[in-house]
Structure formats: C-alpha cells, structure tokens
C-alpha cells in the first residue's frame, strides 16, 4: 500500500498497461477526499502532538469475487485511490497476486527506491569531510 500511496495515478496507469486486466469492481465508498491529522512527538521521541493536517483520499471497493479492498493515499487524486483499492483487493487473490506484484508493485517500488537513492547520493555529496590543519601540511 505504501508503494501505491507514493505513486502518481499516471505512474500506476502506465504499469497497469503492462499488467493483466484488473477484475471488475463495485465502489463501496468513495473515492472521497478528506484530511488526516499528522502527529509528531514532543522532542522527537516524547508524547504525541498534533502537527497539522494533510489531504488524504480514500476508497473502498468490492470485486466480483467478493474480495474487498481499501486504500488511503496522501493527496486528492481520486483515480489513484480507486486503483489502489482495486489493487489492494486483487492482490488478495492468490491467482492474480504474482502477476500484479511483478507488473505493477515491484516496478513502482524499484522506481521509488531509485529516486530515494538519487536523493541520498546528492545528500552524501554535501556531507562535510572535516580535515584538520595537521593534514593540510
């Protein structure tokens, strides 16, 4: 779910194009946009406090075979939330799971890890390498 939450609707659409067709689904709730109160901890590791809200879109669906899927994703993209809910349901089906993992989830996860790695490498390039006066001589 974290992978789908971090992917844009366009990215999911692109992966779905390479995947077996998703089963028919019926909307149980939403997709609808609301808020989640984001919490932090006092001093980073103490008691919780309310930091502020963020927009969240949620959706619940039922597939023809009765499997139910739920999704909560950051932002206001209803298409993303609906696909995430359908995928959440379809991934519970052992017959569909391997193909969907391979075609959708894993490539998205890989792309996200690559982006995170690129940021990490840029950050690493700004890590200060201290040297003392002694080593300058």
């Amino acid at each position: 779910m974290g992978v789908l939450a971090r992917a844009s609707a366009a990215e999911i659409a692109e992966r779905l194009g390479q995947a077996p067709p998703l089963p028919q689904h019926q909307r149980l709730r939403g997709p609808e946009t609301g808020l989640a109160m984001v919490r932090g901890r006092q001093g980073g590791d103490g008691a919780p406090f309310n930091l502020g809200e963020m927009t969240v879109t949620r959706c619940s669906v039922r597939l023809a075979d009765g499997l139910v899927g739920h999704a909560y994703v950051a932002g206001r993209d209803k298409q993303q939330a609906e696909w995430a809910a359908v995928l959440d349901a379809a991934l519970q089906n052992p017959a569909l799971r391997p193909a969907l993992l391979e075609a959708v989830i894993e490539p998205l996860a890989t792309a996200q890890a690559e982006r995170a790695q690129r940021d990490a490498r840029k950050a690493a390039a700004t890590r200060v390498q201290f040297f003392t006066m002694a080593t300058m001589r």
Binding site: L35, G40, Q42, D45, A47, P48, G52, A74, A123, A125
Partner: protein, 359 residues
Amino acid sequence: MAYVAVKGGEQAIENAHAWLAEVRRGDPAVPELSLAQIEQQMSLAVDRVMAEGSCYDRGLAALAVKQARGDLIEAAFLLRAYRTTLPRFGASLPVDTGAMRVRRRISATYKDLPGGQVLGPTFDYTHRLLDFALAAEGEPPPPAPEAPAEETAMPRVTGILAQEGLMAPEAQSDAEPGDLTRQPLAFPADRSLRLQALARGDEGFLLALGYSTQRGYGNAHPFVGEIRMGEVSVELVPPELGFPIEIGEITVTECQMVNQFAGSKTEPPQFTRGYGLVFGQGERKAMAMALVDRSLRSAELGEEATAPAQQQEFVLYHCDNVEATGFVEHLKLPHYVDFQSELEKVRQMRATAMREAAE
C-alpha cells in the same frame, strides 16, 4: 442610519474584484504562472503556506499562493478556510523523525557525530549577492553532484546526550494529544497544545520572539543540537483494517535546541530541549519554534517567567497570523455608528473643557 451607508457598495465591490482579477493576472503579454511552476520554483513559499495554513498539500498551497498574488498570509488563510470543508478521516501515528530520509542534517554541538554533517540544498554559505544570471532565462543547471550513499545511521543528538544522562528525557507517553482545532485553547495549555499552536504559528512572530530570548528577554542559552530536513512516511490505522498502512510521505524540518538547565530542587543540572517541527523545508521557523517551545517550558522547569516569550497566553494567543489578521483587518469594516458616538463624546468633552478654561 449605519445600514444605509453600508449598503450600496455592491457594484463597487464587484468592480473591485474584477480589477483584482486583472491585476492578479498582470500584463497579459507576460506568460501566466502555472501551479506547477509555483510548486517547483516557489517551493519555500508553498512550504510556508502549508505550515501556517496547517494543511499539507503542495498543489492546494500553490493555488493559494497564486490566488493571493503571493501574499503568503492571505494564502495560509485560504488554505485554512478550504480545510474546513473537508471531513477528517482520522489521525496519523506519530511520524518517526529518527527514520527520516535525510536531505539535510547538521549539528552545532558535535562536529564528528554519527551520520555526519549533511548540508543539503541550503542558502547557508551563499554570499547573498543578487545573481543576475537568474534574471536571464537560461538552460537548467546541471544535476547536482552525487556521492556514494553509505547506509549510516543518523541517531539523534539528543539521544547521544541522553545516553550520558545529561539530557532531560521526554515523557514516554502515547496519551491522546489535545487538538486546538476542536477545543478552544485554555490556559495553562499543555505542551502538546503549545507545539500544535507553534507549528501553525506565524514565522515572523516566532522568529522575533525567539530572537528576543537570545537577546536577554528570557535568559536562554541555546545550541542547535540538530536540524534535520527530509521525508518521513505517514502511517494511519483505518478503522476498517485495524492495522497501520502507509499513506504517503511528507517533507518536514525538525530542530532540537539544547539548552543549559541549572537544575532545581527535584532535578539535577542537565540539558533540556526546545523542539521545533514544521511541514516542508522551514529551517528558520523550526529554529524559532524550538526557541519559543523551550521558553514556554519555564513554568514546568521552575524558572521565573519574566519575558514575553515565556508568557503562554501572550505567545499562543498572538502567534496565529490568520486570527491576528482577522482582528487587525476587521478595523477596516464600517464603524460609522461607533465612531459617531465617539465624535459626540469628544465634542462634548471639548466644549466642557473650553467652557471651564474660559471661566
């Protein structure tokens, strides 16, 4: 009588708004700003609006900046108003800033700390000279250099001090925090409410208050134990699932100010912390928030509260720029009847005073 004066402005208001729309757009010969441009190239304005609007949504904040013609307080106001139209699905688990994907992390207290000093995309060490190269439209800059990223842990500086017993520990609690968007503030406000108010408070106001504590109004001896900025994942427990799921990532800036504490009857001398956490990349705000958080802890630490930054009511009632704007700007509304009575009164007093002087 007053109502007669208040009415009749309809056409004027309509025309004023039409003119506002025209000046918002500016010269049509100049290309219009897109939300993506604001989000990407005015990203710190977007961050500030999300922080003070208390709503994390880059697209909405960019729209607010555009609609407000770059007036960031007006933009925060628009975002606050919009959030009231949305239902709340729940609260997240507390974000773990210790597990942040760090883009910047510096400490002013330890040079060689585990994980190192990572500068990230910072204005620090720039010469603050206007760069006229930016005035000309040019090619995008080359991608930033990269270096092998080691998987090094970045423990919190406060944790390093805590290991030695030199840092006052935070209360270990999962108590439901107060929420000032649901319950009006009452005093004394506990630290969870104070941090919520400061996190959405005005950067300029908190900056000035933080500065005042450094200059002697509140006797602070702060060190930047650590500042870190990057992405944290947000998890939430949907009631229909009953277990936490990740709903996405947000960018936050955290500041741990380390302050000397002389000790009290019950506590040995040690360091205490002031804490700042804000949406987006907002280092100045996070630092100011941490300074003011520490000042507001004076009562619980048994310190004498003599300075403005130590007065809860003063700080918390005045740090919200949307509320402050509302009350200051309401003075523009028609006060014709009020003023008429003042006018009568002053004329009367003046007549009395002149008569007495003549006698």
